[in-house]
């Protein structure tokens, strides 16, 4: 008997007991669906973090204004303008490990060119920014010293913005309006693509910090030198954690914080974030493995049970097959393939459901998910394997039947 014949026969007999087969598959089905969906969420999240790290670089530390406690009342993050351009300058000047410390201000702005209107992010930067981040110029020129010094109203366009506003037209030299303030386009940034989270990194407009703050985003009333964040690049070969401690100490000193006071800023190190995400995703992986094992075990026992029933029901059929020339291994293979088919069908259906669930999570809840073909292949392969392992005992029983007794079976 060829495996193909055995497979066709397996499908026939599963179809003959369609409801029973479906119920038997349920364990494997649900187990595989859950695992595929959860792996998709897990690897989606991990991929997002990885993409962010790739986009930023692991040796970047982002400093943002933190919690401020005034008279026992805790104000939220960013409640006071606690970071300034002078902080950035000090970091760059006084800490050797810091290669660049780029003060930036950021805000959402309406961008208009010709008749086209587009909402994008405006980044106000200083020359340090292009040291900290490896953003490249695709067209035109970058920002130059005198642009910063004079507060020139010039901008670099992210690729998405350039395409949306100017389409095929060369944007260099054109004028755009940011919140109605005219800026001249001097360059277009090289395309950086989307993060897996769906963020478009090219939907951005970059201008000198001074012009951006004074003309568009507005200057902080309490402190004209305040900025939204400082992006620090640690020199290659320097220890990021150590640099972080130096930055913390210097900022605390500059902000005149007493030992009893908390930091009024937050340091975000992407390597740290990645590490915690990695640790938690490892815990998650173990949890998933446990769920998968339990559900496959339960599913497998269900399959073993139903195959034992099937062997008993079909004792006469087995006797007849033996009488007309089936060898032990033909019977063994027939029932093994039947069990594997049952299990693998459950696995395929489960993988499909898990895939659909992952898509739904992305669409409805906006979670980034990633379903790899390997995960699906693995799920289906493992479930077929479960069928073979748990189908082996019933198949052995079938193959060991005595033809005469089997034929006499009621």
């Amino acid at each position: 008997m060829s495996p193909l014949d055995a497979f066709a026969g397996a499908l026939d007999s599963l179809r003959a007991n369609a409801l029973r087969s479906a119920l038997t598959m349920l364990g494997i089905f649900i187990g595989v669906a859950a695992v595929i969906a959860m792996v998709a969420v897990g690897s989606g999240a991990r991929e997002t973090v990885l993409a962010q790290i790739r986009a930023l670089g692991a040796n970047l530390i982002v400093v943002v204004p933190g919690n401020v406690t005034v008279g026992g009342v805790r104000l939220g993050s960013g409640a006071r303008a606690s970071l300034t351009q002078d902080d950035a300058l000090a970091l760059e000047r006084e800490i050797d490990a810091v290669e660049a410390a780029a003060p930036t201000s950021r805000g959402q702005v309406q961008v208009v060119a010709g008749g086209v209107n587009w909402s994008s992010w405006l980044l106000g930067v200083t020359p340090s920014f292009f040291v900290a981040r490896d953003w490249e110029i695709a067209l035109g020129r970058g920002l130059e010293a005198e642009d910063y010094d004079r507060g020139a109203q010039v901008v670099l366009l992210g690729e998405t913005v350039a395409r949306t506003l100017f389409d095929e037209i060369d944007p260099i030299g054109e004028t755009i309006r940011l919140r109605n303030v005219p800026f001249r386009v001097v360059g277009v940034l090289a395309r950086k693509g989307q993060t897996t989270g769906g963020q478009d990194q090219d939907d951005v407009v970059v201008a000198p910090l001074r012009a951006a703050q004074q003309r568009v985003l507005g200057v902080n009333r309490a402190n004209a030198r305040a900025v939204g964040s400082i992006t620090v690049r640690v020199r290659d070969g320097e220890d990021t954690a150590q640099a972080e401690e130096q930055i913390r100490a210097l900022l605390r000193q500059r902000h005149r914080l007493t030992a009893a006071q908390e930091d009024d800023f937050l340091l975000r190190n992407l390597a740290d974030i990645a590490a915690t995400r990695d640790a938690s995703s490892r815990t998650m992986s173990w949890l998933l493995a446990a769920i998968a094992t339990v559900s496959l075990l339960v599913g497998g026992i269900g399959i073993m049970n139903i195959m034992l029933v099937s062997v008993t029901e079909r004792t006469r059929e087995i006797g007849l097959r033996l009488a007309v020339g089936a060898r032990r291994r033909d019977i063994l293979m027939q029932f093994l393939i039947e069990a594997a088919t049952l299990s693998a069908l459950g696995g395929v259906a489960g993988a499909a459901l898990g895939f659909a669930a992952a898509r739904a999570l992305t669409r409805i809840a906006g979670w980034p998910t990633l379903v790899s073909p390997e995960a699906i292949l693995l799920a289906v392969g493992v479930s077929a394997g479960v069928g073979i392992v748990f189908g082996y005992y019933p198949a052995r029983r079938a193959a060991a039947l005595d033809p005469i007794e089997a034929l006499r079976h009621a």
Partner: protein, 250 residues
């Protein structure tokens, strides 16, 4: 079909015994039987219930192994053969017909008939072609894709006979093939067996009905596990008997 080798028996047993031990007591279901069945014989096996007829047939059919004695099938001593080798021999040299037909209930007539070909390694298309051809010669050409439930008892038994024939075996072994059929349908089956006999196929048919045994060329009678009579006879013609019946219309 195996070419009839004159002078050499198709099935030859010597001192064949099958002893069942149950709870310490030995039951001699077959107790020292010796007989040779030649190519092209039509043998009826008779005897009272429990005399060992089925036991004898199961041994002839390589479905069971003797406790003692020798069995040569087509010149080959089958004593030492393992289960798989016996399965292959059954597949190549023997066809079985059972009292209760033993058709697969969900399979069509063609699929049932093709089953031995599956284990002979015949490709799918050819299996169907050959099974359909045999069914047609047995007058079931219009019932190829019917399942057993859609067939009468006589038709089911003819499907089973087609299944026994499809591998072109040298011999057909039938244990009470007419036992589940009415007398007229039983006669039809015997007429079919006589036609197969005329084609040179060796037949061994267990029955306890003397009317049925009358269609054979040789009658073996068993009692208490022993062969007590071995008689050759001129067979009655089943087709003629069928035609002679009052409600005759085939």
């Amino acid at each position: 079909m195996d070419a009839a080798a004159p002078g050499r028996a198709l099935m030859e047993v010597e001192d064949l015994a099958r002893v069942y031990t149950m709870g310490g007591t030995a039951l001699r279901a077959l107790d020292g039987v010796g007989v040779a069945i030649g190519h092209g014989e039509f043998v009826a096996v008779m005897g009272p219930s429990g005399s060992g007829k089925s036991t004898f047939m199961n041994l002839l059919g390589l479905l069971d192994q003797p406790t003692r004695g020798r069995y040569r099938l087509d010149g080959e001593d089958v004593a030492g053969l393992g289960a798989d080798a016996r399965a292959t021999m059954r597949n190549r040299k023997l066809g079985f017909v059972f009292q209760s037909f033993n058709l697969l209930p969900r399979a069509t007539a063609v699929e049932n008939v093709a089953l031995p070909l599956v284990y002979a390694g015949v490709p799918r298309g050819e299996r169907r072609r050959r099974a359909a051809a045999v069914l047609e010669t047995l007058g079931l050409g219009a019932r190829l894709d019917h399942t057993p439930l859609e067939l009468s008892g006589g038709q089911q038994q003819r499907v089973a006979i087609a299944r026994a024939l499809v591998n072109e075996p040298g011999a057909i072994l039938a244990d009470e093939p007419t036992g589940a059929l009415d007398s007229r349908t039983g006669l039809e089956i015997m007429a079919l067996f006589q036609a197969l006999h005329a084609r040179g196929i060796t037949l061994v048919v267990v029955t306890h009905d003397p009317e049925i045994a009358a269609f054979a060329t040789r009658v073996l009678t068993f009692r208490d596990g022993r062969l007590v009579e071995d008689r050759r006879q001129v067979p009655r013609n089943a087709a003629a008997a069928l035609a002679a019946r009052p409600e005759a219309a085939a």
